[in-house]
């Protein structure tokens, strides 16, 4: 079985809100210097889902793939250190400024180039744009079924059986492979690379493909092919008008809060 996991490099989403700065010119968020670039957490869980499948089916080959600049090699390295077998970096100046559409277009072309891919895994959304568009787009462009928001992914006899998250519970869905599955945080914690796997990862192959390697014209990818027009990026202002309810005891605080909420007709 051949699995491709699409992973995105993002600024560490765990940083405090105060560390976000907006680049008005580029209409993008510019984290302050020193913030690490990491694999988007949902994508890390997608890698984990692939590794769990390989734990059950050892004859499984896992490729981690990322569309991004040269620095995105570090997230491929991380995926390889977690246990993936090979990496593919989709790097080309023409890819810069991709939106959900051109990202899906480029990844789908790369998945076609690999060929005979049984399962494509992605995170449910990237931790930077929070779009949740690319996984569905890859499925639509490849013409294969998509199952979103997976909590568990099992493969048996060419069938993907996925428990997926709903607003008020879960449902179990089956689809014939090939298929695309997007992974949600309910999958659980991804494994931490061992020292041994990290050493081995250094020797695993990482291919680098450009637009022409994928047979894509430069004006169909990146910002040129994008359907999204970024108009503005901003940090919402907080009103910061909190009234702290003082009191010598929890009882006094409780009485103070109850009184204010009653005055405001909130209770």
């Amino acid at each position: 079985m051949r699995i491709v996991v699409c992973v995105k490099q993002v600024p560490n989403p765990e940083i405090a809100a105060s560390q976000y700065r907006v680049d008005e010119q580029a209409r993008t968020v510019a984290p302050v210097a020193g913030v690490q670039w990491v694999m988007s957490p949902f994508d890390e869980q997608a890698v984990e889902a692939a590794l769990r499948i390989r734990d059950a089916h050892p004859a499984t080959n896992i490729t981690v793939m990322s569309l991004g600049p040269e620095r995105a090699r570090t997230v491929l390295k991380h995926g390889l250190a977690m246990g993936a077998d090979e990496g593919v970096l989709l790097a080309d100046t023409a890819f810069a400024g991709s939106d959900g559409y051109t990202t899906a277009l480029t990844l789908a072309a790369a998945i076609r180039k690999i060929g005979n891919v049984d399962l494509v895994l992605t995170g449910r959304q990237a931790a930077d744009r929070d779009g949740g568009v690319v996984g569905a787009g890859i499925g639509e462009l490849l013409g294969v079924p998509v199952i979103s928001f997976a909590k568990e992914v099992h493969i048996e006899d060419g069938v993907a059986r996925v428990e997926r998250v709903l607003d008020d519970g879960t449902e179990t869905v089956e689809a014939l492979l090939p298929a695309v599955v997007t992974v949600s945080n309910e999958l659980g914690a991804p494994r931490v690379p061992s020292l041994r796997e990290t050493m081995r990862a250094a020797r695993k192959p990482v291919a680098a493909w450009s637009a022409s390697d994928l047979g894509l014209a430069a004006d169909t990818v990146g910002a040129a092919g994008a359907r999204r027009v970024p108009e503005r990026m901003f940090i919402p202002l907080k009103q910061n008008r909190c009234e702290f309810i003082a009191g010598k005891s929890p009882e006094e605080q409780a009485a103070g809060l109850a009184q204010r909420l009653r005055e405001a007709k909130l209770i």
Partner: protein, 327 residues
């Protein structure tokens, strides 16, 4: 933008979810500004009564696709059926509620129609004749405004961002039955089991008061005190992501960027730090009360009232104050 604004009206058990009325209110406003019309798409069954209700809430035309396979959400049935309606409605914009169904449906519909989608929008406005879509990103820490080069522009809109129009039974509109463009063989996925979390009390989306717990509860037991408070206030209990991931409470309680979006009158956040991804789901509450041991917690920047202290001592005291007020 002079064509139609199309609202996808999601129904559960033959009834329209309230969020569809919010979308109709928004669509009406956009259409009136642009001189266009409002259309609604109704899938499955439910028939004329629901269609008339959609007209009373602002639709000029309702497309009804009745088919046994559209009764519950299967993307492989809904996407081709809706793609057909979208083409027939000649719409410039498609509005879909941002929930588990909408977040799955909208991107696929966008690719099927050769257009693009903005997910989780908090504002949809007309800017020089073009739709400007505002949405949280970077875990709720930033917001972006985007437009699209292609039509129709698709937006999933977070619940609670727009007011529902009062029903006006004198409004007139047309209802058109359409034949969905798919057959059973197009459905490539099969639902084999469904587990609903035991629904206790009201839906979070309908609650006027929500008491929500976070990592600071330090364990599943903390939710018992929150349930007691919610009961005293006639409200519902929610959570940030950490307690759900740790199994302290059902996942369906999760409020935030990847959970549910709520807009209660009163939101009491207990032991919640106030990270952007949580606030994206509750930031539109009318008033937020934060209870936290850390006076520097980010939640106090969003809160109207703050209690610095141990919730285990504060919540029981607050419950008895509430009961005193209620006599």
């Amino acid at each position: 933008m002079t064509g139609a604004v199309l609202v996808i009206a999601e129904t559960t058990q033959g009834k329209t979810a309230g969020a569809a009325y919010e979308l109709l209110g928004l669509a009406r406003r956009l259409a009136d500004q642009a001189g266009g019309t409002v259309a609604a798409a109704l899938l499955g069954s439910g028939g004329d009564a629901v269609a008339q209700e959609l007209i009373a809430r602002g639709a000029d035309k309702v497309f009804v696709a009745e088919h046994a396979l559209l009764g519950e959400y299967y993307a492989d049935a809904w996407v081709p059926a809706l793609a057909g309606i979208c083409r027939e409605a000649a719409c410039d914009a498609i509005l879909i509620s941002h929930n588990a169904v909408g977040a799955d449906l909208a991107p696929r519909l966008a690719f099927r129609l050769g257009t693009a989608v903005a997910t989780g929008c908090v504002e949809v406005a007309l800017n020089a004749g073009r739709l400007a879509l505002t949405r949280p990103c970077y875990g709720g820490n930033a917001r972006e405004v985007i437009a699209f080069k292609t039509v129709p522009a698709i937006a999933t809109v977070r619940p609670g961002c727009y007011d529902v129009l009062a029903a006006d039974a004198s409004r007139r509109g047309t209802v058109e039955q359409v034949q969905p463009e798919f057959d059973a063989s197009a459905i490539r996925t099969r639902i084999i089991a469904r587990k609903r979390d035991a629904a206790e009390g009201m839906r979070l989306e309908d609650a006027k008061v929500i008491v929500a717990g976070g990592r600071g509860l330090n364990g599943a037991g903390g939710f018992r005190a929150l349930e007691d408070l919610a009961r005293a206030l006639g409200g519902a209990v929610g959570a940030s992501r950490v307690p759900c991931d740790l199994g302290w409470c059902p996942r369906s309680w999760q409020i935030g960027l990847t959970g549910r979006t709520v807009t209660p009158e009163l939101y009491i956040a207990v032991g919640i730090s106030g990270a952007g991804h949580h606030m994206a789901g509750c930031g539109n509450a009318k008033a937020i009360v934060a209870v936290n041991t850390d006076p520097e917690a980010a939640i106090f920047k969003d809160a109207r009232y703050g209690i610095v202290g141990d919730y285990q001592k504060f919540i029981p005291a607050f419950i008895s104050e509430v009961q005193k007020l209620q006599g």
